[in-house]
């Protein structure tokens, strides 16, 4: 366990040394400016615009960290052979994968916290300046839940990125495939619904089955998107909130196990 925590710390520190934190802070300030300009282009529901812009920026920056830094951090270990230095110590391969995952997760967590605070700050500013133009049911609880869900969704993408980097040593290839998986994950539910609707008329079972299989392989990331719910303060069923969390954690667990199995068998020459 100590080894995993040590690796996680090193990975996170390495990310922070890459001036990631500086980038995140810059993004956070930019977010406030963009939010104020963009929100003032509207006449109604300004709070909704501020919440959606804020939460979208949290998502985008988290994805940017995973795609442009997370993947490179591990690929660099393989490319520059620094992985030998790590694995020559009493650290097993599975600990390396899990440690890397937690390190990247920590980095994403820091980013979500900083940007989440800035986002909440800009929303609060809008609420104070134009209190009459806020959706009537807006409250901070759905906002916080939406942030937690964004974090889980980003952790899923991180685990997928780790899986692909375990399969292929090319960071570019891993980035492309991870981006593709993210895109499929965001749309798999809506495509499945569209196909199910279309199949009722055409009766083509093959494509229906294909979409069904895809929906089992790729994660349904759309269920973690609560931006609209947070923006309008739409009612949330407390008992149903647990299922996406369980779905996300179990998916991450399975993906990490597959990544470990592949990485264990991989020739590191």
């Amino acid at each position: 366990m100590n080894n995993i925590w040590l690796l996680a710390q090193i990975t996170c520190k390495e990310g922070l040394r890459n001036r990631a934190l500086l980038g995140i802070l810059f993004f956070a300030v930019l977010l406030c400016v963009i939010n104020l300009i963009f929100t003032n282009m509207f006449a109604y529901d300004l709070g909704k615009v501020a919440v959606e812009v804020g939460l979208s920026v949290v998502s985008i920056s988290g994805l940017a960290i995973i795609f442009f830094m997370g993947i490179n951090l591990m690929a660099k270990d393989l490319d520059k052979r620094t992985i030998y230095m790590i694995l020559s110590r009493p650290i097993s391969r599975w600990q390396y994968i899990v440690g890397k995952f937690f390190g990247l997760g920590l980095l994403v967590f820091i980013s979500v916290i900083i940007l989440g605070l800035f986002s909440a700050g800009s929303v609060k500013f809008i609420i104070l300046t134009v209190p009459n133009y806020i959706p009537p049911d807006f409250s901070w609880a759905p906002f916080l839940i939406a942030l937690i869900y964004i974090f889980i969704s980003l952790l899923i993408v991180t685990s997928i990125a780790l899986l692909y980097i375990s399969v292929t040593s090319s960071s570019f290839l891993a980035m492309i495939i991870t981006a593709g998986s993210y895109f499929i994950g965001q749309n798999v539910e809506i495509v499945r619904k569209m196909y199910c609707q279309a199949e009722k008329d055409t009766g083509n079972e093959v494509s229906k089955q294909l979409v069904e299989i895809i929906s089992w392989i790729f994660p349904n990331l759309a269920i973690f998107d609560l931006k609209t719910t947070a923006a309008y303060g739409l009612p949330l069923n407390a008992s149903e909130l647990i299922w996406p969390v369980l779905y996300g954690i179990s998916y991450i667990g399975m993906i990490l196990i597959i990544a470990i199995v592949i990485f264990q068998r991989r020739e590191l020459t």
Binding site: Y44, D45, S153
Partner: protein
């Protein structure tokens, strides 16, 4: 650094700067006048746009709305093609975020009036009405469009009554809905609706208003049924309301809480508690 190199760099920078300034002036000269902006919208169905937007549906909806608002705000004369594109932008924005007040407000402010597309506005407003359970305004706009633009009193009354049930709505909407219901030949429905309103209302002044309107509609209903009976018996419409008493169909003309008597059009047989027949 050598002096020659510095001079070369400065000269190259100045050359680049002057080229940039000249090109920029040319580009900005060619820019389209704001009054010549025309609307364009993707032909993609809203479902596809929804799937392409992924988790950024909210800000995509805002973007489509801003695009429509820019064209409308440019104050140029928009043609039928422009309005088609604008209504498509509204549809796409509505599919991505059906809750946004700005979208349905802009739809109501433009489509039924300038674009002369009340049916399209009603269709889009119905999406808002289904989603915004806290907001009475989409139903009010639909009711208004049916009544004012499409001259459909029945549907108008239906949506005004729906609007009056939502939180924050003025009770006057219910009264207006019941009035349209009567004008559309559905007096009984109007009375039933007012009765429910009366039972649920806690404010005494509002209750008094509702009761007054209920009494007026009940009087209209009595007279409508009497006129129907008279027509069946005599194969013609009564010349005035007193004929209903002389024909022994009614013993007394009901009291109109708003005026001295009810207004009756002997050519059409329509009864009203106010002057607007």
């Amino acid at each position: 650094m050598k002096k020659g190199l510095i001079i070369s760099l400065v000269l190259f920078f100045l050359f680049s700067l002057s080229a940039y300034l000249y090109a920029r002036t040319k580009i900005y000269d060619q820019c389209t006048d704001v009054k010549e902006i025309h609307a364009t919208a993707s032909q993609l169905p809203p479902e596809i746009i929804k799937s392409l937007a992924g988790e950024f549906k909210g800000i995509m909806a805002d973007y489509f709305l801003l695009e429509a608002a820019t064209v409308i705000g440019a104050q140029n004369k928009l043609n039928a093609e422009d309005w088609k594109a604008i209504s498509r932008l509204f549809k796409q924005s509505m599919a991505l975020d059906p809750y946004f007040k700005q979208t349905y407000s802009l739809i109501q402010a433009t489509l039924p009036w300038e674009a002369k597309m009340p049916e399209c506005a009603i269709e889009l407003l119905k999406t808002s009405s289904r989603h915004c359970y806290w907001d009475w305004q989409p139903d009010f706009y639909i009711g208004f469009d049916y009544y004012y633009h499409l001259k459909d009193n029945l549907n108008g009354s239906k949506y005004l009554m729906e609007a009056s049930k939502k939180p924050g709505a003025s009770p006057l909407l219910g009264l207006l809905g019941a009035r349209l219901s009567q004008k559309g030949g559905q007096t009984k429905a109007g009375i039933a609706f007012l009765r429910t309103m009366y039972e649920n209302e806690k404010n005494e002044d509002t209750k008094k208003q509702i009761k007054q309107r209920m009494d007026a509609l009940e009087g209209v209903l009595i007279l409508e049924e009497a006129i129907e009976k008279f027509t069946l018996n005599f194969d013609r419409l009564p010349k005035n309301l007193d004929e209903l008493i002389t024909a022994k169909i009614l013993t007394v003309i009901p009291e109109n809480p708003y005026h001295d008597t009810y207004y009756y059009d002997h050519k059409t047989g329509i009864i009203s508690y106010d002057t607007a027949l």
